[in-house]
Amino acid sequence: MSAPPPLGRSLTELSAALSRREVSSEEATRAVLSRIEATDGRLGAFLRVTPEPALEAARASDARRARGEATSPLDGVPLALKDIFLTNGVETTAGSRILAGFIPPFDATVVDRLRGAGAVLVGKLNMDEFAMGSSNENSAFGPCRNPWDLTRTPGGSSGGSAAAVAARQVFGAFGTDTGGSIRQPASLCGVVGLKPTYGRVSRYGVVAFASSLDQVGPLGRTVADAATLLGAVAGHDPRDQTSSQHPVPDYLEGLEDGARGLRIGVPREWFQGGTEAGVERRIREALAAFEAMGARLVDVELPHSKYGVAAYYLVAPAEASSNLARYDGVRFGPRAPARSLSDMYGETRDAGFGAEAKRRIMLGTYALSAGYHDAYYLKAQKVRTLVRQDFDRAFERCDVVAGPVSPTVAFSLGEKIDDPLQMYLADVYTISCNLAALPGLSVPAGLHPGNGLPVGLQLVGRPFDESTLLRAARALERELGPSPAPEAIG
């Protein structure tokens, strides 16, 4: 059994159907809620579903529509959010026990903008605790599964977001990407995932993991869906002084312009045998398809990208160790009973944080410690500069850089969970984009020739040039035809 109508539609199609009044937002929302009810027991994409407020928002959208006041393409569209976005009055945990029961008194800027656009928010999606992980297995509330194969992970940390979109539970979702957390699960679940340029989308009200790397982005069934979702949330926010004043273009404009004349950089370092053969085959086929469409492939070098994972695992934990200090049991979240202040801190944090969060707090605290700060944190920051300079040089010769998102297709639950280093290496191709603050996108590049699981192509662009990434991705999407729906979830 595949997803019933209107769930077969993309967000873009639903939006058009809503404006033609072929379907109401309430109908679409009810369909979404029953789909979630029918499938999520097996999938585990949602941590929380909020049917009443969703239906209320849907009816309000229908009323606007009836009055002719619905102007945004998202008006009445059911969406869901990674549980890292603060939602006023709705529990927000970031996948951590230490935030269990935390009900925010305000909305994240992204949430505020989505509500303003009339979107119907149906619930909060599963994720690795504090966005730390590449398999969603670090969620304190149970794993999420891959809708293509329920024995496998959807990737992470935005695993719930990718799985929900792939399983046709919602028409689009938002996640965050610190080292690949949107692109890798998008790749493993066969959907489009975009990490915008650092500063493109406000981080206000997004639970922080690594502040200089975190970026909010959309996951959609199609490239156009992702473009529409990004357009609704991008832009400067006075509450986030790291958000950019750079003007926000219409991301749908030029989307269909094709790949002709595009110079696609192929970094030598991303094709040196680190990728599983079936994945690499699909990636090379995608590059060949671009060439056939009139794009030109250009060899480029990213010599410092090999230091990316090492630098990332110093900078990100360093910032995380500080960002996670506020979870101390004093003001919100659970507090362990203890006799002294330091015991209260220790026991609260011991009970509240999972193993990976603790590991990164330790790593980060060490990297910032007196005597080690220069050798680790400072050195890693220098690597960041070099990684960015590599890309700057590459972009003198090409418009986008292309390669794999992940070295493998979706891996099995439990396969890497006891081997943190193997898990970290799942992000080997996605990390440099975050280190360099550049936009990156994962677009389906077909199914693995052996196991039939999705493979994603990664495209990395110049700062604030999301439009070119979307245009190139759309060209491939058109060439390869609509990406199929996963069958395992039914």
């Binding site: 935390f102 509450r239 790291t242 500080s322 200090a325 003001r331 910032l368």
Partner: protein
């Protein structure tokens, strides 16, 4: 203190800035209020919140830097100082570390007539923490009040250039006066809006090598500062003379016992794991902004005191007292304008302001803004005094009434009947009566015991119920007694 040791002090001042809102959010900075009534998700350190820098804080930092002859840096960077404490909501304080907004500069002042120049290391911007309140709940447990969390602070760090307790106090007074003149700080030590820590060490006289220092905290008045440093200096000398070594540590002053006690030692010292605050871009201060702020700088205390000496002929002492508080100096200027006249009037006003008025202000604890006496009323007192309408005791009594109840000098004088009797016929009548009643004293005076004039003047004043103009009484008696 043993003659063989030299005291060395460096001071860190934390001055709360008089902005209306906090450094990173829109909450009020007002002192007091119900606990946790001036808070929002940002200053509560909720998940997902981000700081938005208050531009006024940067402007105040530039203003202070210029007034203290610092170099205002074109680019400075906020950093996180990481440590756990219940009053620190985020588990880190947003401060500045490697790149503060101001470097260098100095504070110049006078101690016992000697010019002193204390160099500054740096000035940086940071957020204040909240306050732990102990035993507030019914069960005796502790609470946290975060009203103060996020109130903007300037930390002003001196070089170890201070060599005595008096210098330390004069340094703080001079710095405090400058900050108050600039309108960036209210100078209130008791409420903690002007706080200081002192780095204290001793070294053998003549040595070039500084001794190991201890950082003293919790001194919220000049008196406590004096006690704390005095205790600490003696303690360190005793340690060294006993053959020991001073340990580098942070020590808390206990005002009840008048002593300092170790808070944490170097070995237990926190590793603050500073790193640049990724949530805030670097603070850029273009030269044009600095120049714009420079144009708004007021005349500072030392310049004003110098002007009073030069233009009004006041002594350095009087000028220094008048200018220590900007509001007092402004009161003085207004009173002088109301009185008119030059050096003589200035001297009279300075004496009254630095004398009776300062005494009353001290007794009542009222700051100039709260005084009921007005500059024109004080000018009126001087005018009545100059005109001989009131004498010394009358002046004091009028000022006391004006300070307590306000109003103008003439009204007080007439309501209280304080006007002196200068009418010679009235004085003569009283003098005649006294001469008649005191034949013995008059006899002895005339025989040459001139000291008895004072007694006889006193008798006349007493007969006139103290209202006789002393000069007239003197003249009349001298004339009548002859000889």
């Amino acid at each position: 203190m043993s003659e063989a040791f030299q005291l060395v002090i460096g001071i860190e001042v934390h001055a709360q800035l008089l902005t209306r809102s906090k450094i990173f959010c829109g909450c009020s900075t007002a002192f007091g209020g119900e606990p946790n009534s001036h808070v929002c998700p940002v200053c509560l350190g909720m998940p997902g919140v981000l700081p938005a820098l208050n531009r006024r804080v940067v402007e105040f930092a530039i203003r202070t830097g210029l007034a203290l002859s610092c170099t205002v840096q074109g680019k400075s960077v906020f950093a996180r100082k990481n440590y756990f404490y219940p009053d620190l909501p985020k588990g880190y304080q947003v401060s500045q570390y490697e790149l503060p907004i101001c470097v260098g500069g100095s504070v110049d002042f006078t101690v016992d007539g000697v010019e002193k120049h204390v160099r500054l290391t740096r000035i940086h911007m940071e957020e204040d923490a909240g306050k732990n309140l102990h035993g507030v709940a019914l069960d005796g447990s502790s609470g946290v009040d975060l009203n103060r969390a996020g109130v903007p602070l300037l930390e002003i760090v001196s070089e170890p250039d201070i060599r005595s307790i008096d210098e330390a106090i004069e340094y703080l007074k001079a710095l405090r006066a400058i900050l108050m003149y600039l309108g960036v700080n209210d100078g209130n030590m008791e409420e903690g809006s002007f706080r200081c820590d002192a780095n204290v060490s001793v070294m053998p006289v003549g040595s070039k090598v500084l001794g190991t220092r201890c950082e003293l905290k919790n001194m919220n008045s000049f008196r406590f500062l004096r006690q704390a440093i005095d205790f600490e200096m003696r303690r360190q000398v005793a340690v060294i003379e006993g053959g020991g070594n001073v340990r580098q540590e942070t020590r808390l002053f206990d005002p009840q016992r008048g002593e300092t006690r170790p808070m944490r030692s170097k070995e237990e010292a926190q590793d603050y794991r500073y790193f640049p605050e990724p949530d805030l871009p670097p603070v850029m201060v273009p030269p044009a902004w600095v120049e714009e702020v420079r144009l708004t700088l007021p005349e500072l205390p030392r310049a004003r005191a110098a002007r009073y000496q030069r233009e009004l002929g006041l002594s350095a002492y009087d000028a220094g007292l008048l200018t220590a508080d900007r509001d007092v100096a402004q009161f003085f200027d207004a009173a002088l304008a109301a009185r008119g006249g030059g050096a003589a009037a200035a001297k009279r006003l300075a004496n009254l302001l630095n004398g009776d008025v300062a005494r009353l202000a001290n007794e009542t604890g009222l700051v100039p803004a709260a005084w009921r006496i007005t500059p024109s009323a004080l000018a009126g007192v001087v005018r009545l005094s100059d005109d001989g309408v009131i004498g010394g005791p009358g002046v004091r009594q009028v000022i006391e009434e004006l300070f307590r109840d306000g109003g103008d000098a003439e009204a007080v004088v007439s309501a209280r009947g304080l006007a002196q009797v200068s009418d010679e016929s009235a004085v003569e009548a009283a003098a005649d009566a006294v001469i008649a009643q005191s034949p013995g004293e008059v006899e002895r005076y005339r025989a040459g015991n001139r000291k008895l004039l004072g007694f006889l003047v006193g008798q006349v004043m007493k007969a006139m119920k103290g209202k006789g103009n002393p000069a007239v009484v003197n003249a009349v008696l001298t004339r009548k007694l002859g000889g």
